[in-house]
Amino acid sequence: MLNFCLRRLAVGIGMLIALSLLIFILLRLAPGDPIDAYINPNVAMSQEEMAAVRARLGLDQPLPVQYLAWLGGALRGDLGFSLQRNGETVLGLVAQRIGPTLLLMGTGLAIAIVVGIGAGIIGAVRRNSATDLGLSVAAFLGISSPAFLTALVGLYVFSVLLRWAPSGGMLTPGAPFSLGDLASHLILPALLLSIGHAALIMRYMRASLLEVLNQDYVRSARAKGVKEFWVVVKHALRNALLPVVTLIGSTIGIAVGGAIFLESVFNWPGMGLLLVNAVETRDYPVIMGATLVVGACVILANLLTDIAYAAIDPRIQVA
């Protein structure tokens, strides 16, 4: 197991370096740089002034020099400074932002897992009933609703019309910190983030459980007179969870994408909002640093999924 983890970590580091190179190249291929993003087209500025600022930021250096300087710093744990913010290090910004993103993603995924697995079990146990049909329709709606639509509709209905939840941010500006305030800001984006994932998990759980419930060993358990509740919980559920765990692991990468969008809509101060702002302002060091950290999280999540897989099913060897 240790060997497996170390091997995967080494591969992960190689992937992160490749990722950083890819992002660096893509960024430099994209039109515009931090200075172009800085200029208000309605308030003109001369090219001479722009060139002076470019030189001050080191953006006039050859690209390989810029990349190697960044990589050298990154390997020493120094991700540099934001080009668009006042004296803020990329590491400091990422450290500030990762917590809110984990909170939003964690809450959203926890809701999705609880609701998705619960609804999947109910759907499978009450197969073809009105409840099953209702849950399936809801799941299809959830899967087929694009995140931008659910986020904007949710914001409009629950914040603007009903005023049940704040329209954005993580805490009320200027108010002292309280868990209640945090929860009131968290609940709406977390619920909206969970919709698509819950629907997907529900479909997988239902299908997987139905398949397991038709296995011979389940039939044997029933024949021995085990109560249906225990047949499902004790005999069928554990095996049915395997594909769902795989799905949840792969969902984490997708959830990052969803969180990026939701953070923009709800102005949630996480990695997503940081990345979107950085891309809009072509803040190269922040884009590089934030992408690296998100990439590392996804790689780590996949590793943890493999380990969880082995824990659920001891027959699976990860070494």
Partner: protein, 526 residues
């Protein structure tokens, strides 16, 4: 038993909370929360006024300039300068300074004025003012309360530039090296100004909080705190405004109708001071013949677009200006006349010049309104045989395309853009004067029209105030005849404030102002 104990404890707590004579809860500080950096005049995340191309509505709550626009943008009045004099030859500006103090209690003196101007002229500090202050040869400080600016040549736009130059404390900044000043953490951690509010804190990408400055020379502010909330876009700010979380925001013209007639809100309308135009790239052979440019003007039904898309909230522009005192008589109104446009194109030999080949129309305007406007322009030009294809890109892409070292002219043979045209009419010089062709300026369309350049030069060098309007009328006339741009309109801009806000002054000024808003008087009623 346990339940009973819990119930008793809850009942006791409730009784204590409601008991008469219970200690009073400390009064919440009065707070105005708004989206003060939303929209084209805002600049979220920028705290450095030397690098600001917007955001002056907010910055001027804690920093102050020597002189400031009045709240109608009609004249420039003293702010940190209690009075000022300009010599007859326009080469010397003398400012008498107000009796003001920095937020740390130190006095504001002429040494701060000299330090600010020297810093703003130093390109190493990342300033955007260096070129605009280039005419200042020296700053003299005969005494602590007098600053004298000596110019090497008259500069008609100097006072307008000074309205955006926020005074900075020499004692706090003098030890920061020039090349690290632009992004120094001082700006967003502990800045001090002389304004009615003091910087309190910045919660990254969420909000900025200011606290009342009790020692403000204009009197202690009525409201204890002002909070500037950040938003990813205008729609998010409008949602927060509608839900009552903020008391003010800039809004897009499309949103105005939903607030009009609502007693809970007050709609504020103003001139955008941005003239929108179709810009002809003179490096491509398409637009050399003035008859082609005239045909573009005649082909577009600007009245119909203003009425149907802008709902009347824009003023047709037949040159770079729409202000009455800058418009000479006898301007060609270029009335909508597609037949005349076709005739002009035929006379110019459009079939040989380009014919029906597609012409990219580059823009950085990405709003739904702009998309509709460009669709209408595309259809109208298509009717006369000019096949334009709008291409909307983000601002960095637009700037990178037009300001490239070796521009690819085929990427922007035609642009739909805007340029600040007031309150100082010289603002558009940078985009039209031949001397402003990059790298010197922002004439990225490479307009080389002697009549236009000559008119601008005459206006900029005019030292007689009574003749300035006349000079800019000549600029307008030259633009109208030569058509370096097909000028379209100057749109209105809007803000919406809660009806609870009292004595609140805001106008949709270019770059957010600044203007004499007297934030020390702002209050939030019940």
């Amino acid at each position: 038993m346990r339940f009973r104990m819990l119930a008793s404890a809850l009942a006791l707590a409730a009784a204590m909370a409601w008991a008469p004579g219970a200690p009073a809860v400390a009064q919440e500080p009065s707070t105005i929360t708004g989206g003060f950096d939303v929209g084209p005049g805002g600049f979220q995340g920028n705290f450095n006024p030397l690098a600001a191309t917007g955001g002056f509505t907010w910055l001027s709550l804690y920093f102050e300039p020597l002189v400031i626009n009045d709240d109608k943008l009609e004249s420039i009045v003293g702010d940190l300068a209690s009075s000022y004099e300009v010599s007859a030859d326009k080469l010397q500006y003398t400012f008498k300074l107000a009796d003001a103090k920095w937020h740390d209690g130190q006095p504001f003196t002429s040494a701060d004025v000299k330090f600010t101007i020297d810093t703003a002229k130093n390109g190493a500090t990342g300033t955007v003012f260096a070129a605009r202050l280039g005419a200042i040869a020296s700053v003299e400080t005969p005494d602590a309360k007098t600053a004298v600016l000596k110019l090497s040549a008259p500069n008609a736009g100097l006072l307008a530039t000074l309205t955006q130059l926020m005074m900075l404390p020499q004692h706090a900044l003098k030890d920061i090296p020039s090349d690290t000043l632009a992004k120094h953490e001082w700006w967003s951690k502990s800045p001090i100004g002389t304004g009615p509010y003091k910087f309190s804190r910045y919660v990254t990408d969420q909000y900025v909080e200011l606290a009342a400055n009790p020692d403000y020379r204009g009197g202690k502010p009525v409201t204890d705190r002002i909070i500037n909330r950040y938003f990813a876009n205008t729609a998010a700010a409008v949602a927060a405004l509608r839900s009552g979380e903020i008391a003010f925001s800039y809004v897009e013209a499309d949103d105005v109708a939903t607030f009009q007639g609502n007693d809970g809100f007050k709609v504020i309308e103003g001139n955008s001071y941005v003239v929108n135009y179709l810009g002809f790239n003179q490096e491509v052979p398409l637009w050399k013949d003035v008859r082609v440019r005239q045909a573009v003007m005649h082909a577009i039904n600007r009245d119909a677009i203003v009425q149907s898309l802008y709902k009347g909230a824009a003023e047709i522009a037949n040159c770079g200006y729409v202000a009455d005192h800058l418009l000479p008589s006898g301007l060609d109104a270029y009335a909508y006349d597609p037949e005349k446009a076709k005739q002009l194109l035929a006379e110019a030999g459009w079939d040989q010049i380009n014919g029906s080949k597609p012409i990219p129309l580059l823009t950085y305007y990405n709003t739904p309104l702009a998309s509709n406007v460009l669709a209408a322009v595309q259809a109208m030009l298509g009717q006369v045989g000019i096949n334009v294809v709008p291409r909307a890109v983000d601002t960095p892409t637009y700037n990178a395309t037009i300001y490239a070292q070796n521009p690819d002219w085929s990427q922007f043979p035609l642009v739909y853009a805007g340029l600040q045209n007031g309150p100082d009419p010289s603002a558009i010089n940078i985009g039209l004067n031949e001397k402003q062709i990059p790298p010197a300026g922002a004439n990225f369309l490479r307009i080389r029209m002697p009549e236009v350049t000559g008119a601008f030069d005459a206006a900029l060098n005019e030292t007689d105030d009574s003749k300035r309007a006349e000079r800019y009328q000549a600029v307008c006339k030259a633009m109208n005849a030569n058509l370096p741009w097909a000028t379209m309109w100057v749109a209105k801009r809007y803000g919406v404030a809660s009806a609870k806000l009292k004595d609140f002054v805001w106008i949709p000024a270019p770059a957010g102002g600044p203007f004499a808003a007297h934030p020390e008087k702002w209050a939030l009623g019940n």
